[in-house]
């Protein structure tokens, strides 16, 4: 349709001595600018909101870490003092160590559990697969607060069912959330519980999307299911696994809700995570500068992982196109 119109224009143009061509050029010019202006107007709300509520705070967060903020809002430049303090303050160091511990234990656990679940459910009937997916994703849907409170009740030292189950097998009751040895473990349980849902969905979709050819070929060669899984599925899932690993690490680093709801960082800072430490310093101690510096460290760590994820994504897309 468009080309017909253009041909018509051209023919009329030749007939009427170039007059129409000028008009058409003018119309095209208006059309293109109108389009570009609309384009800019359409992005404007997003850009404005972004600039004020995302970009400015992100930049300011880093800037504030070099300042000391007084209660009246006055800012004094103190250079790297806040950062030096991070590495000498035992509570902050403990929170960093706790966060690492959570990442080191929860991320592999999540990967293994979710991969196992996905591999076991993806070939079942559609309804059953959906049911299982639903069960594991429930923990993601119900808010972290809800999930944390549910586990709070289970881990209750006097009335919780966890101690009752221990009693049934003649094991001593634990203090769970209040115990210095067990509290971080409880937090880890809640974190894994909440993290497994999304990878299950992603792995299931990925497994369903793998091409059947390699499997069929290997079946002819006599491979059993376990061999197929190890030598075909796992390698083909590698990009997805990397993606999930990075996302899970980033999420594990930001553990906050279970800590705030269940243990408030205690006992004695044994469950404080970096984000909880940030929250404490900012909103309980009102030390905005120091809190911002913790945030900056968090940003650097997560930034490194995010960039890694981005690069991995690009590699994946390239591999997928081959």
């Amino acid at each position: 349709m468009l080309t017909e119109k253009a041909i018509d224009d051209c023919q009329q143009d030749k007939a009427s001595d170039g007059h129409l061509e000028k008009n058409r050029k003018q119309k095209n010019f208006n059309f293109h600018t109108a389009r570009k202006i609309t384009g800019i107007i359409f992005v404007l709300p997003a850009v404005l909101l972004f600039a004020i509520f995302v970009i400015y705070p992100a930049v300011d967060a880093v800037r504030l870490s070099f300042f000391k903020i007084a209660s009246n809002g006055n800012e004094t430049f103190i250079g790297l003092e806040n950062f030096k303090r991070i590495f000498s303050d035992k509570w902050t160091l403990l929170s960093i160590w706790n966060t690492f511990k959570i990442m080191l234990i929860c991320v592999p656990s999540t990967l293994i559990i979710s991969l196992f679940v996905a591999a076991t459910i993806y070939q079942k009937k559609q309804r059953i697969t959906s049911l299982y997916r639903c069960i594991f994703y429930l923990a993601v849907i119900a808010s972290a607060v809800t999930v944390s409170l549910m586990w709070n009740w289970i881990f209750n030292a006097q009335l919780g069912i966890a101690n009752y189950l221990l009693k049934l097998v003649n094991l001593p009751p634990q203090e769970w959330l209040g115990g210095t040895n067990t509290s971080l473990g409880c937090i880890m349980v809640v974190v894994v519980y909440m993290m497994v849902g999304q990878p299950v969905i992603i792995y299931t979709a990925a497994l369903e999307g793998l091409s059947r050819e390699s499997y069929e070929a290997s079946e002819i060669d006599g491979a059993n299911k376990w061999q197929q899984f190890l030598h075909i599925s796992l390698p083909m899932l590698q990009p997805v696994t990397l993606y999930i690993m990075v996302i899970s690490t980033i999420n594990a680093f930001q553990t906050f809700v279970p800590v705030n709801v269940l243990t408030q960082g205690g006992p004695q800072g044994k469950t404080a995570t970096m984000v909880f430490s940030l929250y404490e310093e900012a909103f309980l101690n009102f030390d905005y500068g120091y809190a911002s510096s913790i945030g900056t460290i968090l940003l650097i760590v997560i930034g490194v992982f995010s960039v890694a994820q981005f690069k991995i994504n690009n590699i994946r897309h390239q591999e997928g196109q081959r």
Binding site: V47, I113, C134, S143, M150
Partner: protein
């Protein structure tokens, strides 16, 4: 045949799967069960899986003796208003970035992508001070507008990924039919975006509803608290009894769970668009 089907490995693997599934369902089931128990039964030394006597006392206490209805109202208002704006602004921006090449569109997209990587916790202190200067504490604006902004990156990303599915021919056809640019967007493009809008809306609804830290920081007055914050607060109060808290937990997770069960496909589609190719 049967031996093959129920081989040893089959039993072990599926047995483990069922055990894991039971572990994952148990906390919900346990909260649900206990929410219907009488006080005495909850505190009894021998826990019962199913309440001996089913009672609605806890729910009554939750609805009438706490501010739960106010919290619920706040959560609903915040989530719904947020997703309306998130969807609209994301569609407009995504359309513009994907279909209209204007100078700087790539820069905008890259900046948004970079901002997506900045976790919200890092920005919480400056955002807080911003709220101080805007005087947006304990207001709907303070709860809603930053939510819109921080979810935009995901929304625009999603929209831009989906835009290739809108054929350019439709846009050209609309233009030939005499639509101006806004007309093209609202009449030709937007209807085609319905599935993505549904996914985006639902994912963001859940996300905004559950945004604990921001709501904790902004809404301190009991009239402005949201449902998750309110219930968490109940847990720490000495005078509130565990049954009430459990009833609150069940009540607050029920709508989200129902949304998920019935609208599952919108979640899967939205989440896997970025992760799995095709």
């Amino acid at each position: 045949m049967i031996k093959e089907r129920f081989s040893f490995s089959y039993i072990v693997l599926n047995g483990l799967l069922i055990i894991l599934a039971l572990i994952w369902v148990f906390p919900f089931f346990w909260a649900l069960s206990n929410s219907f128990k009488l006080e005495g039964e909850i505190y009894s030394a021998v826990p019962t899986l199913i309440p001996k006597i089913i009672t609605l006392d806890n729910y009554a206490a939750f609805f009438y003796r706490t501010n739960s209805l106010i919290w619920l109202k706040n959560s609903i208002i915040i989530s719904i208003v947020s997703i309306i704006f998130i969807c609209l602004i994301s569609c407009m921006a995504g359309y513009s970035l994907a279909k209209i090449r204007f100078p700087g569109s790539n820069v905008v997209f890259v900046v948004m992508l970079a901002a997506m990587m900045v976790p919200k916790y890092v920005m919480i202190v400056p955002l807080f001070r911003l709220m101080q200067s805007f005087k947006w504490f304990n207001t709907y604006s303070g709860l809603i507008i930053p939510e819109i902004a921080t979810n935009l990156a995901f929304g625009i990303f999603l929209m831009r990924q989906f835009m290739p599915n809108v054929p350019d021919e439709i846009i050209e056809a609309a233009r030939i039919d005499g639509c101006n640019e806004t007309g093209i967007f609202f009449k030709a493009v937007l209807p085609l975006l319905k599935p993505v809008i549904a996914s985006l809306g639902i994912i963001c609804f859940v996300h905004v509803w559950n945004d604990y830290l921001w709501q904790l920081v902004i809404a301190s007055s009991s009239k402005m608290k949201t449902l998750p914050i309110g219930i968490a607060g109940l847990n720490t109060e000495q005078t509130v009894f565990i049954g009430t808290v459990l009833a609150g937990i069940v009540f607050s997770s029920l709508p989200l769970i129902l949304i998920y069960i019935f609208l599952q496909k919108y979640f899967s589609r939205g989440l896997t668009i970025g992760a799995v190719k095709g």
